[in-house]
Symmetry: none
Subunit: 140 residues, 4 copies
DNA sequence: GTGGTCTAGACCACA
DNA sequence: GTGGTCTAGACCACC
């Protein structure tokens, strides 16, 4: 199960962004390792029933960001760098991100309940961070 | 009682950050209005029994962020802008912030549960976004 | 020679601000690329013969502004984003900034000549934006 | 010569903004003092050959900003506050604004010449800060 | 009196 | 070793 993409078409989040995030997540989760080949633009487009340009846009963004490298004529691959975040780095990054949201929520005068609701709503209509029980690894 | 600051000395959150967040919260809560003077650096330092530099650091950060303006020789005041956000602006900002955390959580390979736990932990040891009706501390 | 900082001690511009601007300039000039490590706080302090706190203040400001990222225990690095602005983005940003100053000058009742003089003065005693082809200091 | 407005219709700067800035400038220059009456919306509209709504929009913005007060049925007047900036405050504000542009120019990698050109261009097609020799007072 | 900067030296957590 | 925070005390410019 090298890569399992899906889209929620009704979402306000652009499809190409959904693809981008899912590939990023797969890489940082280790499902996609450095050097791994990604399915071709056409294959993904057909699979998701979206336009090939949409997929190309997502791939392009990831290439520009350095997550993927494109080798014309051969395909696109997971880039070398991003040397697997250590557990402590993950924690630090998560914490920093959390600090930012909470600070923004505070500065906007939102309550904890509002924050939670906003996260719920966003995850739901994005399809991101939805627990799937595909594996028992991430229960934390 | 225009501004009631307090610190939790045992916290791992730096004192100057605690001050920053409390002032931000007071502004967004409307307790501190545009143009209002803040207590002097030295006064706060004496009140909280911390060094004046620590308070100055907090004030400075808020000045650089545009929440306060400093008029050397006179004092520091709440900045003009953002008399108050409209409900829609609040929602927009919250959503944008949420989008950022979720994206970061995804890119770091964290699960929804981890995100929630991280937010819980951060709120708890920061004292931010904790709904407490048990005492009359929060007037909002 | 990855980064060559210097201070003009007689200046009214705070040392930490001089450091901030020089690092910003180096980044935008491309001398410092994303991911590059900066010299340690203590190293810079020794080099410039200033207190470590002063350097830390400069680094901290750049971190809060998102130009640098700090990894405690490891060092501080140039942040990922903004690989480089496109020409049109540069122009747009410059224009927006110009619009702001002009508006402020107008609202303060200053003349064009005063604005120019103020810019001259600021550049001169900051060392910023001074074109100097007389020596090989600026490689850009 | 209590107020002399003019517009540059070909400009990309909205006409109402041009009016706003000119009135602000007149106030801070002292040409318009607290309590002074402004010409009626209709009069200005006729004078500038623009729609009355455009003038009303400008007045409205200044009222919201607190520069003007509208007394329905009587007219609009220069507000009380804004207690004439002192010379030092003017200087401080100008300097702060200049610092911001220069910093932005630096961070964008622009040269001094580019900055000057951008200011020139903006002033020219805005009509702001153009020396008119109306009086010899402001020569810097 | 106000804020702003700088120094000197301490301690912590992290790697 | 790294950055981050805090303290104590000094000096400045501004009002």
């Amino acid at each position: 199960m090298p890569l399992r993409l899906k889209t929620t078409p009704g979402s306000s989040v652009p499809i190409y962004r959904q693809i981008v995030e899912q590939i990023r997540a797969a890489i940082s989760r280790g499902e996609l390792a450095s050097g791994d080949a990604l399915p071709s633009v056409r294959a993904v487009a057909e699979d998701l029933v979206v336009n090939a340009n949409t997929v190309a846009k997502a791939y392009g963004e990831l290439v520009r960001a350095g997550d993927l490298v494109s080798e014309p004529g051969r395909g696109v691959f997971v880039a070398e760098r991003k040397p697997q975040l250590t557990a402590s780095e993950r924690k630090r990054k998560l914490r920093a991100a959390v600090e930012r949201v909470v600070a923004e929520a505070v500065s906007v005068g939102a309550s904890r309940a509002e924050l939670d609701a906003a996260i719920d709503a966003h995850c739901e209509h994005t399809g991101l961070l939805v627990e799937e029980d595909e594996d028992g690894l991430r229960t934390a």
